[in-house]
């Protein structure tokens, strides 16, 4: 079994276990305000780190390339309150244009 299969199955099993255990857990677990705050902050940190790694690195090296142009357009789209598909598509189109023609 290669890394792709391990990641696919491992993630799926844990994802379901997390969902199901939530449905089977007493409700007072959620009342701790610090726990709630950490729960809101963890996705912010992880997703921001993923944006950074996917935009600025390649094979463990820091790299500035066509992806930065794509991300910049995505940021502009988000400031203009564009809907999600527009954000993704405009980033992809910009990045592809620069990759192909520069």
């Amino acid at each position: 079994m290669n890394a792709f299969w391990i990641a696919t199955i491992g993630t799926s099993v844990i994802a379901f276990a997390l969902k199901f255990s939530g449905h089977s857990m007493p409700q007072h677990w959620l009342e701790n305000p610090k726990l709630q705050r950490v729960n809101a902050l963890i996705p912010i940190a992880l997703l921001s780190a993923l944006v950074a790694v996917q935009t600025f690195t390649s094979q463990s090296k820091v790299m500035i390339d066509h992806r930065l142009a794509g991300l910049s357009v995505a940021i502009i789209a988000l400031f203009l309150k564009a809907p999600f598909p527009v954000v993704v598509l405009s980033a992809a189109a910009t990045s592809a244009a620069i990759y192909n023609w520069l």
Binding site: G10, G22, A40, L50, A52, S90
Partner: protein, 220 residues
């Protein structure tokens, strides 16, 4: 089940379609990062949580190990467990129904449900089931379409797919950046992940930012 009110039906359908369509981006980027079409579809069917799925693909795509991919995706999946805690007393289901409810407990089904609940507890339950089932259907159909499409495309970079993934992450995190502290955490996480990439094994710079989030959360 009693009659479903039209506002709940409309909200559920529009959320299902827009979020589901975004499955194209997932299917395409999964294949672009080396996953097979079958693996991409299994992730959507079984994991069924957008941010976690993108994280698996992102970490593996960046050269990370399966373990760090699973760990990052699972940390992002913790919030679904908390949604489960919120939804369980409202749905009051057991057995097979609870298993189905758990699988479709995601951001969207919880959000539509809690919104619809303002009308009646029944509308809240309808919103949960309709949105969960609708997103599940469309998300999986569009994942397949995206995966097959990307397979036909060849070089992912020529189509901008290598930028679609970070743009998708950015689109997921953007609405969460409400307070000043949220934005500071985002910037710190970006800087940390970039700075640590040449130093730490791939995948670890991402997951390590969870500890920055915990420190931020406990400090205040």
């Amino acid at each position: 089940m009693s009659r479903i009110d039209s506002v709940t039906a409309r909200d559920s359908l529009s959320v299902s379609l827009t979020v589901g369509a975004y499955g194209v981006a997932f299917g395409a980027s999964a294949v672009a990062n080396g996953f097979t079409v079958v693996q991409s579809c299994l992730l959507s069917l079984l994991t069924f949580s957008g941010a976690s799925q993108f994280a698996v693909v992102g970490v593996i795509g960046a050269g990370g190990s399966a373990i760090s991919a699973i760990a990052t995706a699972s940390l992002l999946g913790v919030r679904n467990g908390l949604y489960g805690v919120i939804m369980a007393p409202r749905l009051k289901v057991s057995g097979l129904k609870r298993i189905v409810a758990a699988q479709i407990t995601i951001d969207e089904s919880t959000a539509v449900s809690l919104g619809a609940e303002a009308r009646s507890p029944e509308a809240g339950r309808h919103g949960f089931w309709l949105t969960g089932a609708g997103v599940f259907l469309f998300w999986n159909l569009f994942t397949l379409a995206g995966a097959l499409g990307a397979q036909a495309m060849g070089d992912a970079r020529a189509w901008g797919l290598d930028s679609a993934v970070p743009a998708a992450f950015l689109g997921l995190v953007w609405p969460r950046l409400v307070s000043h502290a949220d934005r500071v955490l985002a910037v710190v996480s970006v800087a940390f992940a970039i700075a640590m990439t040449p130093v730490l094994p791939a995948g670890l710079p991402i997951i390590a930012t969870a500890f920055i989030a915990i420190a931020f959360g406990l400090r205040r």
